[in-house]
Amino acid sequence: MLRFVVVRLSQSLVALAILSVVVFILARATGDPLSMVLPMSATEEDYANARAYLGLDRSYLEQYVSFVGRAAIGDFGTSIRARRPVSELIRERLPNSFKLAAFAMGVSVAMAFPLGILAAVKKGTAIDRGAQIVSILGQSLPTFWLAIVLVEFVAGRLQWLPAVGDGTLASYVLPGFTLGWFVVAGMMRLLRSSMLEVLDSEYVKLARVKGVIEPRVVWLHALKNALIPVVTFAGIYFSILVTTAIVVETVFAWPGLGRLAYEGITGRDFPVIQAVVLVTAAIVAVVNLGVDCLYAVIDPRIRVAR
């Protein structure tokens, strides 16, 4: 098991290294940031000075090496726009994103699990059909549209919930719900079909034959098996969450990493871009690793295979 973790960890590091090169190149390719920061009247000399100040006049290789070196200790340079250390910006924003993502994930799981399981157990009934409709609608609705509509009506007209992140628990609801919606739909569907398949299996039949009571059959014998495909997809769900977060944070003006990314990209702020992409990729890699470990915990068959 330990060997498994180590191997995966090193694979992730390799992937991150490659990613850092890609990011470095792309970030540099976003265009000359100075043209956005310096006033129109800046002279050649001003440009040269700014460039030297920001270290942009060194060779690319030098820049890359110093970038990697400093990134390893958490120093991502200084934001060209905000003139503050990027790591500071990230430290401010990351927890907000994290809290929102955790809230959204929590909501998703809390909604998807009971619905998915119930839909399978009560297959063919109104509950099942209702759940299926919710699920397919969820996967067909564009998140940002839902976000706008919610902001307008729930926050604007009805004034039930705040539209902007203001730290209160209430302000989590709209963006959290919007963020988690897509995942709920997918997860519920997956859980339902997985449960259906498991409930049909021979070992569930044998459990019933042995006289195990029905709730235990469903929630222990069946569910543990049904979770396997869901866990497999958890990594993908998480990355969908990250993807959607950028949109949601922008619409709801949520001070998180996603919004930072958007600002960084439109402002051609490459220290920020680099840092955000790397941090995000690292988080995604860690989550995937965690998911793989979780998978091994649930399913004893793959413990040996590694």
């Binding site: 397919i136 996967q139 509509v149 990250v242």
Partner: protein, 304 residues
């Protein structure tokens, strides 16, 4: 004389189904023979998009400040000149929606075709050759699989400038990994079956086996996946356009239309609302179609 029809989820294989402890017969819900509704919706949008230049619609880019923010025809100030109203620059909503469908559908289909072609190729090769080739390809796949699409798309959009090609590329570059994973899984299962070994014994080489034997058997899976993914891609494209990193103006794209109408959702609701409904309908149609295809072609894919 009773006849026995074997195979497929649709056949009355009650006889075999009853025998053996593993078999079972479940009362199947009534399933439509043909998915009329989804196909109909898709047909409407496809036709509208394809025939857009020939329909006598107002120019989607013609601005007219005089007629700006006119509501749809069923509201008070509406008129038949602009059946679905106009946006804040006076451009006709109906025309923009129709032209927008060209963009969305094209983006969806092209992206998915590219991604699936590449992904299936990777999956087939990885599954067939196994060993180190498989290991390397899968590592690449896994690394790609969880990379957030929007980040890449945003970077590309700002680097090289937003354009149709960039959107397609950005999405396809990440999407293929999904296909690779699934197809590889299928190939692994197929490899267990005897007919591959027989083909090998008969002297068939790798290329032949992949194209003649493996690919046709994964076709069903591909079709289902492709259909289900088109909807997803359309939503991603719309999200990108919404953020300004997708199809650039002045080309009408549903996502950017929604973004434009954002500020006056309460007063001029139709500017944001209608494109959203369009997206919802198209994606829903593709999802329903994909579900139907999956149920018909390969129920084992329920997990997708």
């Amino acid at each position: 004389m009773a006849t026995r029809v074997l195979g497929g989820p649709d056949s009355p294989d009650a006889g075999a189904a009853l025998g053996g402890v593993g078999g079972h017969v479940v009362a199947r819900p009534r399933r439509m023979k043909w998915p009329y509704v989804p196909l109909g919706i898709i047909a409407v949008f496809v036709l509208a998009g394809a025939l857009a230049p020939f329909l006598s619609l107002p120019d989607p880019q013609a601005q007219s400040l005089r007629t700006k923010l006119r509501p749809p025809v069923w509201e008070e100030r509406g008129s038949w000149a602009n059946p679905l109203g106009t946006d804040r620059l006076g451009r006709d909503m109906l025309a923009r929606m129709v032209w927008g469908s060209r963009v969305s559908l094209a983006a969806g289909v092209v992206t998915v075709l590219l991604a699936s072609a590449f992904g299936a190729a990777v999956g087939l090769v990885a599954g067939y050759y196994g060993g180190r080739v498989d290991g390397a390809l899968m590592r690449m796949t896994d690394a790609t699989l969880s990379f957030p699409i929007i980040l890449l798309a945003l970077i590309l959009a700002v680097t090289v400038g937003p354009s149709f090609t960039n959107v397609v590329l950005a999405i396809a570059v990440i999407l293929w990994a999904r296909y690779a994973r699934v197809i590889r899984g299928q190939v692994l299962t197929l490899m267990e079956l005897d007919f591959i070994a027989q083909a090998r014994i008969a002297g068939a080489g790798g290329w032949r086996i992949i194209t003649r034997h493996l690919l046709p058997n994964t076709f069903n899976t591909l079709v289902v996946l492709v259909t289900l993914q088109i909807g997803y891609v359309i939503i991603v494209e719309a999200s990108l356009s919404f953020l300004g990193a997708g199809i650039p103006p002045p080309t009408p794209a549903w996502g950017s239309m929604i973004a434009e109408g954002r500020d006056f959702v309460t007063s001029a609701w139709w500017v944001s609302f209608l494109p959203g409904i369009a997206i919802l309908l198209v994606v829903l149609a593709f999802n329903l179609l994909g579900d139907w295809l999956r149920d018909t072609l390969d129920p084992k894919l329920r997990q997708l």
